[in-house]
Amino acid sequence: MSALVLVEHDGGRINSAVAGCVAAARQWADAAGVGVVALLCVSESASEAAGALGKEAARLKGIDKVLVAKGSAHGTPMAEALANQLVSVVKSQSITGVFIAATSLGKAVMPRVAALLDVSPLSEVSRVVGKNVFERLVYAGNVVATVQSDQPVQVATVRSTSFEGLGALPADAPAAPIEAAECVSVFDASRFISKALSVSDRPELQSARVVVSGGRALGSAEQYQSVLLPLAEKLGAALGASRAAVDAGYAPNDCQVGQTGKVVAPELYIAVGLSGAIQHLAGMKDSKVIVAINKDPEAPIFQVADYGLVGDLFELVPELTLQL
């Protein structure tokens, strides 16, 4: 019996959300008294990159074994083939807990795995209480539910920002063994067509050390850029936005921070001109230090901010940028 972690990657690098997922799986495995198996699915052609990814996964602390499923089913990661692969490994390896980082891909894959195993899964687990008890947020982050699952297999996505990553093994420690897993067949009723990733010089939102996030008070897409970008550039920060700012067209969809958008936990989160709706707070309240700049002293964002600055953002943000 083991826990299983899906190692999501982009062909070259392991997704940063995997670290928190491994930590959650390790906590669960320790409670259940079992080991942790990592599953890496790679395309047939990616031999060199696959080798590097496998070695990287084998050096992750908390992993006892790495399985590599290599084949044409995994050319571009697709939920249907990945779910079939996970189910195949669950059966062949006597897996009793499946943990998948709650990325857009992970959220697409996990319920398929659960349905095929006839299990009721848990979405976006934020705490492992024990081998059959977990916590997760519901009602847009307003409520924490403690849920017990006495099913033969636990299937969950993990809210990675709620778990501290375990990092890599020390250089002198032996890496986990790598084995091949039988690759499932191609799921040909769905095909990847194209991907349009947002082009940005900014760091990726979910792994950035600093996030500068803007709300509706920015007033326009131009001002969102002209006010926030110089600050973000100076801090090496990623740009985020509230749902209101995204809905108003000030920032692209994938910038949205919140319960239904991205969940982030940077070292420093600077919230500019956003009120702090509860669904936004659910997406950033695990940040280590929160700074709020808003002209309304009663804005809810000040209740979670470590440092609040009341005033006109159009004066304060440029001043802050200048003095950095």
Partner: protein, 255 residues
């Protein structure tokens, strides 16, 4: 082609839910209920596809007690043609809902199922993917654009880094994300007309499915509040705190 749309009755998104004093559940007594906003988007998409001549019929289905008739009335007012209420004593888990929907799909044989990506009460984001898996169908989740021809749907999906387009053979399950469309407002004449429309009711017991809950909610609570900090008076004071107290910025001159 027939499109099946699933709708769920949830606490209205404007309501701030409260936890019951005994921590057993959230208090939904006397709280405004509405159609799940993501399901409204799913229904709007189906109605638009019908208006474009790409679908012949839009059938809505919901699972729950008879009070769920109100969201079906809303669905009629938005343009649904027919409805099914699967009468369940309590709100079933997503896996059970997916099994119920599979039974409905087998009866109705839709060419496409459109669902909201998640319900805003349990925030599970599971049912669409589960239904697709149980049927052995392809799925296109988090849709921000759907283009349909007779055999294939081209769906643009919201993914972490941007957008991705996939082609799924029909029949398929598509789940709607926030920006797929803006649902229409229902008009008073349409609400009046909706009141007269028929709702077919199926008792969940007649489907012969295991819909018993597998999970047990031990308790619910409000999240631990993050301790609020201090207000600072000026930008220099803020920078001083960030450098010397929080130590998240390098000291001046070391950058």
């Amino acid at each position: 082609m027939k499109i099946l749309v699933t709708v769920k009755r949830v606490v209205d998104y404007n309501v701030k839910v409260r936890v019951k004093a005994d921590g057993s559940d959230v208090d939904v007594a006397n709280v405004k209920m509405s159609m799940n906003p993501f399901d409204e988007i799913a229904l709007e998409e189906a109605v638009r596809l019908k208006e474009k001549g790409l679908a012949a019929e839009v059938v809505v289905v919901t699972c729950g007690a008879s009070v769920c008739q109100d969201v079906i009335r809303t669905a009629y007012a938005m343009g649904a043609d027919r409805s099914i209420l699967v009468d369940c004593p309590q709100s079933p888990e997503p896996l059970a809902v997916a099994k119920i929907l599979r039974a409905v799909v087998e009866r109705e044989s839709p060419g496409l199922v459109i669902m909201g990506k998640q319900a805003i009460d349990d925030d599970c984001n599971q049912t669409g993917q589960m239904l697709a898996a149980l049927l052995g169908w392809p799925q296109a989740v988090f849709a921000s654009k759907v283009e349909l021809d007779s055999a294939v749907a081209h769906v643009t999906q919201e993914i972490d880094g941007g957008l991705q387009t996939v082609a799924v053979n029909l029949p398929a399950v598509v789940t709607a994300d926030l920006r797929l469309n803006e649902p229409r407002y229902v008009t008073l004449p349409n609400i009046m007309k909706a009141k007269k429309k028929e709702i077919e009711t199926i008792a969940v017991a007649d489907l012969g499915l295991d819909v018993a809950p597998r999970l047990k909610t031990l308790s619910v609570s409000e999240p631990a509040p993050r301790a609020g900090g201090v207000k600072v008076g000026s930008v220099p004071e803020l920078l001083e705190k960030l450098r010397n107290e929080a130590k998240v910025l390098p000291e001046r001159g070391t950058q």
